[in-house]
Point group: C2
């Protein structure tokens, strides 16, 4: 059958594009080879029988239970297909940011029940088990011989790890740990895949030996029989119910009733328990930082990707949708021609690039620090930790806001599940909370900033990401310069100024008689503001530097567009934060009016390339899953086709008419 | 059985409250009698057999189809119960803002398939049919003898009503209209209850007579047989599929194939078609404004209510949740004691009050204008229209942001459907789009503002809500005064300043050679900003005035709290908009620091009353539907109880293990 034609609007847009779309695609994939490899994996998966979702009732129509069963089925076929490929890539390096495996969204639209298996179970084994443990567990996990997850959060505690209540008490008589759930709030709650999918998991529990509590440690625990899948005696496990998203993630709860596991179930790369119950401390407490930081680093590029999906949907739809008639007698314009619409869309496209390049830079910093740690040098861990905290927090939050803006930009149809924007919204919104809640992470970075400010005032040497503070110790108004580097300077001044203000407020509260922690709490709104300003400055500085570097390496036509996006991001935020610029730089009202004018010019410059820019994200229709965003622009046909798949539409009259509606109407006639 | 005890944290909070909770409840209900009537309706409904949801599998677990069937069943019992009561209240006045009927959320958590029947079908009959039509249709509609909806939006057109493609062509030979859907994009798309519930609807179509198109008009159309519920010949109707919310609203599509309806099906209060096909124009085009404005006015108090539900959940949960240990050795504090948490919560509580009092003020303005219109005076319609546009837009958007903030404030558990925050989020988010999309409405208000600015510069007389512009024609920096009235002045100055800037930018673009509409488009980002500033100024001015008035009428202890909330709202926004205040007032950095300090003081003042404030919203557990927000604070027990209702938890091993997981694992062992 011939493929349906691409709609005329999109054809015209594509003809207008001023740069080579493939060149940008390759840049996003980290080189042409990256694109090739991604295509290889995508073809491998999407050409597999049983993985196409095209002619099925879409998963959103199913009951919660059916939806899970559907996801398990698909995920099993998928992992069977990917296993061999993945086995060749089982080092931590294989986890570096890549869009290769995003093809899973072409198989299950929402989160897979196996997400935690590869996302947390395997990495924890890689990072925290000793060589013997690794040799035993890793091959099984990589080949899906066992199915795992990561169980840390409990009903009563997520943020505060030291407050976890699950206990692991060592019994030297049998050389076993006894896992126990002493209270309702001690139940594990949230781990993905835990409910009915995993038969093993990493359990984080309070370690007791010889009557002493040594704090939380990870344990490798079997929870279900591998033959029958029945929960093992002493294990109580189930699912936690529907959520705002993650419907197919199979998040579960887990309780133990004096459940025994062998001594060697404790992950022993760092701390250990000897046979007699002696506790051997980890050489460095900070070593566990590594895994936590790892996941946060990846979230930055994850949300960049989700943004690119939402952008593709909203921009293509805006090219196809025509609405209103500003000029009597003339045809209705594409909504993409409304400047307010460009204002909603282009900052989101730019943000996706900003987050991706910053995320890759962060990954490189991470890899380098971890390599140093391997050599025994831990000096840079605190800075990396502070950086990953605020970047994870701010990027997840910004991305959620941008995805929602993309959704709203599609008007009513953006509210349809078939647009896929609601599902993407659920996926992105969750990142604000998991792996460290927004405010909690921002306050972590604030602790680092407060220390750094003190160092700066003392004239001490500073680590790279906060060395800018020194410049503002005695002078907080930076001279305004109306160019990208000037905006970056402005943001550094804001960050320093807010850090200073928060520190002063902290001292003020202390002077009023509060102890440090009460003062900290009282100043915490300002401390979070300081963290945000610091993070925004880093995003501006790093992304402008990285985009400039990439632009210099690209063809002139692409280079120009990369710089336009970098500049749009800077100006958008300069306008958003003009109050702060007025306080911490010499900017004037006239300068701000110039920024506004330049912003409007940039929207106009990006307009002809809008569709080219999202085409360059190179997201296949099967992965996009959107009636509004498909490559061919057949929006209305798809909306209707999808609606006709509704089981409700299979019958002209639903049974509820006879049971309920008719009797109701009959009574009215009496 | 004895009721489970209220948790100690909430008991202690309630003891701390400094004002009379019932007094505030009565104030919210517009008097003690309002509370009594609401309680009467709530008891009527919630004591009805078959309406309690307590022991059922929660609706989120069902398939899309089952969920609809469940909602229809509940809605029928509900309307049967409410019918008699409602019949006594069938004038437009009965539609004035009240929380009496919010009890429907205690029956179906999400939107009812009957929402449009009472929300749009009945009001349109009331507003647009002539006396004879009203006499025929209204009693049937009020008694649920017929089930209706309002079908305006099409696949291709929502915003642009003049672009609707459905045609109604008058045939004088038979004295009928022929309804027709000429294209795919002409299909009606979105109307609530249209899919499988309604048998009648108001259809908005292009009226043709004697070869002339007279634009869009409303028609009263039967679409299904009342006996069999089969779609009538020539009618194609079905549902549009799952959405981000409104899962049980049964939104539908509708197409006509040369479908004939009697001449008198056209709603003839305003325009008419005579038997011979002569078109009789409406006396005033603006008369149709009325219904549009009506629904927008109600949205302001609707979102105020949704905010109060989300606030109740998040504040009570924050009183029960303990997390982290700022001080070594001390117990974990209630998260409500973190100032960052208070920052997230209290502005949302205050916003609910601000929107409610502003919404009631808007309703009063509306009623008065409509009364004048009845006497033939249309002068105030444009101002009312402009006011309703921006207030609907800004309140819907702000409320959505605040609900999301409440959800995030609950950490991971806020992501659970059983918290009810995800459903509330879907309900509120939709209001940004339906009944006039955000940007489109903001630009409508901007048109009014631009005209008003011109009048102001000419020294002409101004209508009340824009008369402030005159003060700023020659002087745009207002003298800063650090008190509530000073903040209100500051916001008026910002609104005037931004209106001026947008007008100048518009002229600038025109001078550069653009025609007016292109210039309008180019300046539209600034025009929307001006609208937003105008709306914010109105919210600040009206709410401060109304809350002060109510405070004066209340007991001193309650009065104090009302003023604190009003002031919190003002200061919160003054800090958010400090950039604008720096540009348009004489405020200094030191003044801003004072505002920040006062903000932190206010959070502390509101803290002891936090639980009392949400208790005063007086939302019964059945209507709140939340594991996190119930009156007794048994959060963890409820989370587990709800999870155990999951059909997946009925079996220890799901069938998918044997079908998919086991074979996957077995292959690994080969
Ligand atoms: C979709 C999803 C998937 C998840 N998957 C997993 C998983 O696979 N495995 C797993 O173990 N966990 C998982 N989690 C749990 C997740 O890690 C926690 O929800 C997260 O860490 C936040 O903790 P919390 O829920 O306890 O929030 P809380 O800490 O209770 O936060 C509630 C509020 O209190 C505030 N607060 C708390 N402490 C402080 C403080 N010290 N100072 C100021 N404010 C404070 C927060 O800012 C927030 O506003 C998942 C969660 C979600 C939503
Ligand atoms: C939950 C829900 C329930 C609904 N229920 C009903 C119902 O019962 N009955 C009914 O008839 N309809 C209903 N609707 C439809 C609703 O009224 C429309 O979706 C709404 O009016 C917005 O129109 P649209 O979808 O055409 O958006 P569009 O106009 O297509 O908006 C898309 C984008 O284009 C922009 N845009 C459009 N025109 C302009 C312009 N002139 N200038 C600048 N920007 C512009 C918008 O700002 C937006 O960003 C419902 C919708 C929803 C989401």
């Amino acid at each position: 059958m011939a493929e349906p034609k691409v709609c005329e609007d999109l054809l015209r847009e594509r003809r207008k594009c001023t740069f080579d779309v493939t060149e940008l695609t390759n840049l996003i994939d980290g080189g042409a080879q990256g694109t090739e490899e991604r295509h290889y994996v995508e073809n491998l998966v999407l050409n597999t029988e049983g993985l196409s979702t095209k002619n099925e009732v879409p998963e959103e129509y199913l009951s919660h239970k059916e939806r899970y069963e559907y996801a398990v089925k698909k995920a099993c076929i998928l992992y069977e297909v990917l296993k061999e490929y993945a086995a060749k890539h089982n080092t931590m390096d294989a986890f570096k940011p890549t869009n290769k495996y995003r093809v899973t969204f072409g198989v299950v639209k929402d989160i897979s029940p196996f997400m935690l298996h590869m996302g947390m179970f395997v990495p924890t084994i890689l990072n925290q088990s000793d060589p013997e443990q690794m040799a035993e567990w890793l091959p099984q996990a990589m080949s899906m011989g066992i199915l795992g997850t990561y169980a840390q959060t409990e009903l009563g505690h997520g943020t505060f790890l030291r407050g976890l209540e699950t206990t692991a008490t060592y019994d030297p008589a049998t050389e076993e740990f006894v896992l126990h759930t002493p209270t309702l709030t001690a139940y594990k709650w949230w781990p993905g895949g835990l409910a009915h999918t995993a038969n093993h998991c990493i359990v984080v529990a309070q370690l007791y030996s010889k009557g002493v509590c040594y704090g939380v440690h990870p344990f490798f625990v079997q929870i279900r029989d591998t033959e029958t899948h029945m929960p093992l005696p002493g294990v109580k496990v189930g699912e936690i119910g529907p959520k705002m998203g993650f419907q197919t993630a199979n998040n579960g709860f887990l309780g133990f009733d004096h459940y025994r596991i062998p001594r060697r179930s404790m992950l022993m790369k760092n701390a250990q328990i000897l046979k007699d119950g002696t506790y051997v401390k980890s050489k460095n407490d900070k070593l566990t930082y590594g895994t936590m930081v790892f996941v946060r680093v990846l979230i930055v590029t994850d949300v960049a990707y989700e943004l690119s999906r939402a952008a593709t949907i909203a921009v293509r739809y805006s090219a196809v949708r025509h609405q209103s008639q500003p000029k009597p007698g003339q045809p209705e314009p594409q909504i993409l021609d409304y400047v307010t619409q460009q204002h909603k869309l282009f900052i989101g496209v730019a943000t996706s690039h900003v987050f991706r390049v910053t995320g890759c830079w962060l990954w490189d910093s991470y890899s380098q620090v971890i390599a140093d740690v391997g050599k025994g040098n831990m000096d840079q861990l605190p800075e990396l930790h502070a950086l990953a905290c605020c970047l994870k927090a701010v990027c997840s939050r910004d991305a959620t806001a941008r995805v929602e803006e993309f959704r709203l930009a599609c008007g009513g149809h953006g509210f349809m599940a078939s647009s896929n924007l609601p599902i993407i919204n659920g996926i992105v919104a969750a990142t604000i909370t998991y792996e460290g809640e927004y405010t909690v992470l921002m306050l972590q970075t604030a602790r680092f900033l407060v220390k750094a400010w003190k160092q700066a005032t003392l004239g001490n040497a500073m680590t790279p990401t906060v060395s800018y503070l020194v410049r503002f110790v005695n002078n907080d108004r930076v001279r305004w310069e109306n160019r990208p580097e000037g905006i970056v300077s402005g943001f550094l001044a804001i960050a320093a100024g807010k850090t200073k203000a928060a520190c002063e407020s902290l001292q003020e509260y202390e002077r009023s008689g509060m102890d440090y922690e009460d003062a900290w709490n009282s100043a915490s709104v300002q401390l979070v503001n300081a963290s945000e300003a610091h993070c925004r400055a880093i995003l501006c500085e790093v992304s402008w530097r990285e985009l400039s570097r990439l632009a210099a390496q690209s063809s002139p036509s692409l280079g120009k567009v990369l710089l336009q996006m970098g500049e749009l991001y800077l100006i958008y935020w300069a306008l958003e934060k003009r109050g702060d610029l007025l306080l911490y730089s010499t900017i004037t009202g006239a300068d701000i009016a110039k920024l506004q004018a330049r912003y409007e010019v940039l929207l106009g410059l990006l307009r002809p390339n809008a569709v080219g820019l999202v085409d360059a994200f190179d997201i296949r229709d099967e992965i996009l899953n959107s009636t509004l965003g498909a490559y061919d622009g057949r929006v209305y046909e798809r909306l209707m086709e999808e609606a006709l798949k509704s089981p409700l539409n299979a019958e002209p009259v639903n049974q509820s008419f006879h049971k309920y509606l008719k009797p109701l109407m009959m009574k009215a006639k009496l």
